[in-house]
C-alpha cells in the first residue's frame, strides 16, 4: 500500500474542461494524484484522454477549471499562474514526459549519452566523466547495451528509442512523469519487456505518474487507480483492480469485455 499524505496531493485537477472551437476536448475532470501513485487514463481515441494529459502537463490552457501542482517547497500552485521560466524548470527537473513517438522526446542525431546527460548538464553538471558514467548507468537500467552509448538514437530500434526516452526523463529523478501511450507502436513482446521495466522503475523511484493508454493491460500492470473516459467525460474511476475486475458502468464493462484474453 502506498503511504498517503491526505493533506497534500502532488497534482490536483479541478473541473478541467477544454473546447477546441465547438469541439469538446474534455469536460469537468477532477481528481487528485498523490506522491508515488500511478493513475491510468483509459479510453478509445477521441475520448479526450490526450487532451487531459496536455492540460495536466501545462501544454494546453483549460477553457474552464484548473490544475494545481505541489512545488518542491510545498506550495500548491495553479499551473496557469506559472511563468515561462518556472514551467520550463519544472519540465527539466520535477517532471518527465514520455511521448508515444520517442523521436519527439529525444534529440535523434545526438548520441545516447548526450541525450541522457542533457538534463544533468542543464542543471549544472560539468564533469564529462561523471556525466558519461551516470548516462551509462541509466542505459544499463533501461537495458540498453552500454556499447551503444555513443550511437545516435536514429540507429536504434523502436523499443530501444523508447527506453532511451525513459532514461532521459528519469535521470534527474522527477517526482511526476506523464506518459502518452508509452507502448504504442511497439511489438507485443517488446511491449511486455518495456512494461516490466517501467513497473520496476516506478516502484524503485517512487514515481507518481499519469499514463494515458487505450490498452487495459498497461493500466492493469502499471497503475494503482484508473480513470475511464468516453466522449470527453469521466465515466468511471477507482482502484484499478476493482474497476477492471468488477466494472460498474456499461461502457467500462464493454471495454473490459472486449479485451482479448492473453
Amino acid at each position: 500500500m502506498i503511504e498517503r499524505d491526505l493533506e497534500q496531493p502532488l497534482l490536483r485537477a479541478e473541473g478541467l474542461s477544454r473546447w477546441f472551437g465547438k469541439q469538446l476536448g474534455c469536460r469537468d475532470v477532477s481528481f487528485s494524484l498523490y506522491p508515488g501513485e500511478v493513475i491510468a487514463v483509459v479510453g478509445e481515441s477521441g475520448s479526450g484522454k490526450t487532451t487531459l494529459l496536455q492540460l495536466l502537463s501545462a501544454q494546453l490552457v483549460p477553457s474552464r477549471g484548473r490544475v494545481r501542482y505541489c512545488m518542491r517547497d510545498g506550495a500548491m500552485r495553479d499551473l496557469a499562474s506559472l511563468g515561462d521560466a518556472e514551467r520550463r524548470f519544472l519540465f527539466r527537473t520535477d517532471w518527465g514526459y514520455v511521448h508515444q513517438d520517442p523521436a519527439l522526446g529525444l534529440r535523434m542525431s545526438v548520441s545516447a549519452g548526450a541525450n541522457v546527460g542533457e538534463r544533468l548538464m542543464a542543471i549544472g553538471w560539468r564533469h564529462y566523466g561523471q556525466i558519461r558514467h551516470t548516462a551509462g548507468d541509466w542505459l544499463a537500467r533501461v537495458e540498453i547495451d552500454g556499447g551503444r552509448i555513443d550511437d545516435a538514437p536514429y540507429t536504434y530500434s523502436g523499443g530501444m528509442r523508447q527506453r532511451l526516452q525513459i532514461a532521459r526523463n528519469l535521470v534527474t529523478r522527477p517526482r511526476l512523469v506523464f506518459m502518452d501511450e508509452p507502448t504504442g507502436g511497439l511489438d507485443v513482446s517488446v511491449q511486455a519487456r518495456l512494461l516490466d521495466l517501467l513497473r520496476g522503475l516506478v516502484a524503485e523511484l517512487a514515481l507518481a505518474a499519469v499514463i494515458v493508454t487505450h490498452d487495459l493491460a498497461v493500466a492493469r500492470l502499471l497503475s494503482h487507480r484508473v480513470i475511464v473516459m468516453k466522449d470527453g467525460e469521466i465515466v468511471e474511476t477507482g482502484l484499478t483492480d476493482q474497476v477492471l475486475d468488477d466494472p460498474h458502468q456499461p461502457y467500462t464493462q464493454l471495454l473490459v469485455s472486449s479485451v482479448l484474453p492473453p
Binding site: A85, F89, V110, S111, G117, E118, A122, R126, Y128, D150
Partner: protein, 283 residues
Amino acid sequence: MSAPAYNFAYLDEQTKRMIRRAILKAIAIPGYQVPFASREMPMPYGWGTGGVQVTAAILGPADVLKVIDQGSDDTTNAVSIRKFFAKTAGVRTTTRTSEATVIQTRHRIPETPLGEHQVLVYQVPIPEPLRFLEPRETETRQMHALADYGVMHVKLYEDIARHGHIATTYAYPVKVNGRYVTDPSPTPKFDNPKMDNSPALQLFGAGREKRIYAIPPYTAVVSLDFEDHPFERYRHDGSCALCGSAESFLDEVVIDDRGGRMFVCSDTDYCEGRRGVGEEGAP
C-alpha cells in the same frame, strides 16, 4: 545633382546616439545581445557594417584608429574600412596597436596587450552562440533569459564523445561575468584568454543581425568546458619564421608549388615591432 555632405564618421548624430544607447545598455549587461536598428552602410552586410557603426558612434576627432582583418592592417577589407574612416572622419589612423585608441578588428585580437584607454571593436557575423544548435530566434531568446544553456554543453559533450576533444577551434563560446553565454566572434580559440579581465573595453557589432554586445573592462570571461576536459590554449608547432616568436598566432603560408610552407605571425604590427621595422603612421 550635387554630392551629399556627410556628417563626421558618416552617420548622423541621431543615429550615433541610438547606437550609443545600445552600447551603454550592452555594457550594463555584459554579454547580453542588445537589438539595435542597424543602418545600411556603404559596405555590404557581412563585411563589417556592425563594427563600422559601433566605431562611427564612438569615434571622436582626437581618436587614433587602427583597423585589422585576420590580424593584418594590410588586408583589403582592413584597408577599405580604414580609408572609409579617414575620409568621413578625418581621424588619425595607425598600424601600431600601442598608439591606437580605437581598434576595429575582424577575426583576431592583437597580440600586444591592450590598456584601459583603448576600445576594441569586433566585427561579428553571427552574434548568437546557440544559433547552429537552435535556428529559432524566439527560442534562443528564451534560453538566454532563463540561462538555459544545456544544449551548448550537449554540443561539447558530443565533440568529446566523437573526437576525443572539443572540436570548436574558432568562435569558441564563453561565459561572460558568470551569466551570459556569448560568441567572441570568429577569433581563434587561441585568442579567448585575452578577453578575460582585459583592461580595455570590448564592443561587438553585428550589423546584419542587428545586435550589439559588450564586455566591460576587467570582466571575467570563461571559455566553456568540462572540469575533466578543460579549455586548452592552442599551441602551434613552431615559431614565426620572421621574428622568432613562439607566443603569437601563426599564419601558414604556402611558398612554392611543391607544398612548401612557412609560418609567420598573423599580427603584422606585433611581428614588425619585434623585428624593429614598420612604417610610421598610416600606410
